[in-house]
Amino acid sequence: MVLSPAAVTPVTAALLASMLGAGALACGRDQPEPLRPAPGDAESPVTVHQPPSLTSVETKEIDGLGRPVRVACVTCHSTRDAGGALPTSANELREFHVGLTVRHGTLACASCHAARAGGEPMLHLATGEELRTSETMRLCAQCHGPKLREYEAGRHGGMTGHWDLSQGPRTRNHCVDCHDPHVPAFQPSVPVLRPRDRFLAPPSAAHAGDSHG
């Protein structure tokens, strides 16, 4: 019933040790703890992710890991002539890119795509200046200027890496990482991780069993 000697002895010993040691070590933490060094110059790069959709298209085939097989644009565009004027809408596509959904205002294909025979597919600005697909953000920005301003100020678009660029790099999402240029509206999604907190029953059920309402 009484505390066994085996349990008491180490407790007492440790208590005594801490009391004896306290005299010598009491000031152990009185010295201010050293802080980590202040941020230095922002030397690390901020890179913009290059999504695969800039240089390839999805096919209906699925690979061994269940991912859609992608085909590089140049697979067809380097050997075939896209030819002549581009169609005004996706409904007019007959042989390639058939079934493409486009819900991006009233833009026609040629608003962004350059009609070009063979070679790497190109885009163009309203001025007619041709752009490689890797420069898509300049194309988006000619209509969505305020969004680019927000993006450049770090207030739009996901990122990963370091806030302190003196300690490491940062990667920014590209417009096309989140917005399909043909259907740019952010699509609704099902939220994850519904809380099961004991205080967070849905409002309707919150007072169901509450008698003192």
Binding site: L25, R29, P39, A153, R155, W163, S189, L200
Partner: protein, 299 residues
Amino acid sequence: MDKGRRRALKVLGGTLGAGAFAAALAPLRAWSKSLSVEQFLQKHYKELSPSELAATMRRHEREAKAKYGRDVHIEDVRPMEGVQFGYALNLSVCIGCRKCAEACHHENNHDRKTNNSYIRVLEMEQGTFDLEKGDATYDHPVPAPGKYYLPVQCQQCDNPPCVKVCPVQATWKERDGIVVVDYDWCIGCRYCEAACPYHARRFNWEAPEIPADELNTEQAYLSNRVRPQGVMEKCTFCLHRTRKGLLPACLEACPTGARVFGNLADPESEIRRVLANKRVFVLKEDLGTKPRFFYFFDT
């Protein structure tokens, strides 16, 4: 006769006394099973010498190894010189997907059973701003028409009511503005939870359950190490990441870029540009808590 009675009373008194003594010590015996001598004698974080703190962290690593069979790395990540952390959130782009809460859940070794997270995303009726009427358990595709989403986590107040009410000073504000908890010093009275006007503190009603293979083994003493049962916990702006220059886990998980994190002491930082160019506001400003968490809208 008299002597016999006296002896009987002595024996009775002795027995009762011994019994009472044993009963008085009973809690201590039960206690010593779950509490080691080192734990019992452990000092407050701020009073631990560097070697004592190191020994304490090694002990926690050994205990984690015994419990999860994983090599856990616990360190004491100190604040950075010249850094004052601040956070801002763009309500115009938040879609309420709760990816931030999920990232927090995994990064900070939260209890899997309760889906605990330091972030609560409130679904609010457009045109209203009553936090009491926000729904945190919505379960339909988002963004829902007519709604907006208000993620709420610790506001790292500069005038923190939670710190003032703690009877044992187990929670305090660090030099870089982050309010932390010494989980080994907390007595679990939940005063701080009651004092927080943002419902940002969580209590470990039970010991967190985390599958060993999902444990985040990169831990800090004051942030994401696995908390014991019966103590408070709270958002630390992921200090184990952010004090090393990394972005917090919730920001990295945000698919829309609604979150802006950085150093308020650096006039060139993104967070300072938000404060300079956006009409920012804080939650419950009238309470005078001086939050470091700002909200704003596009344009």
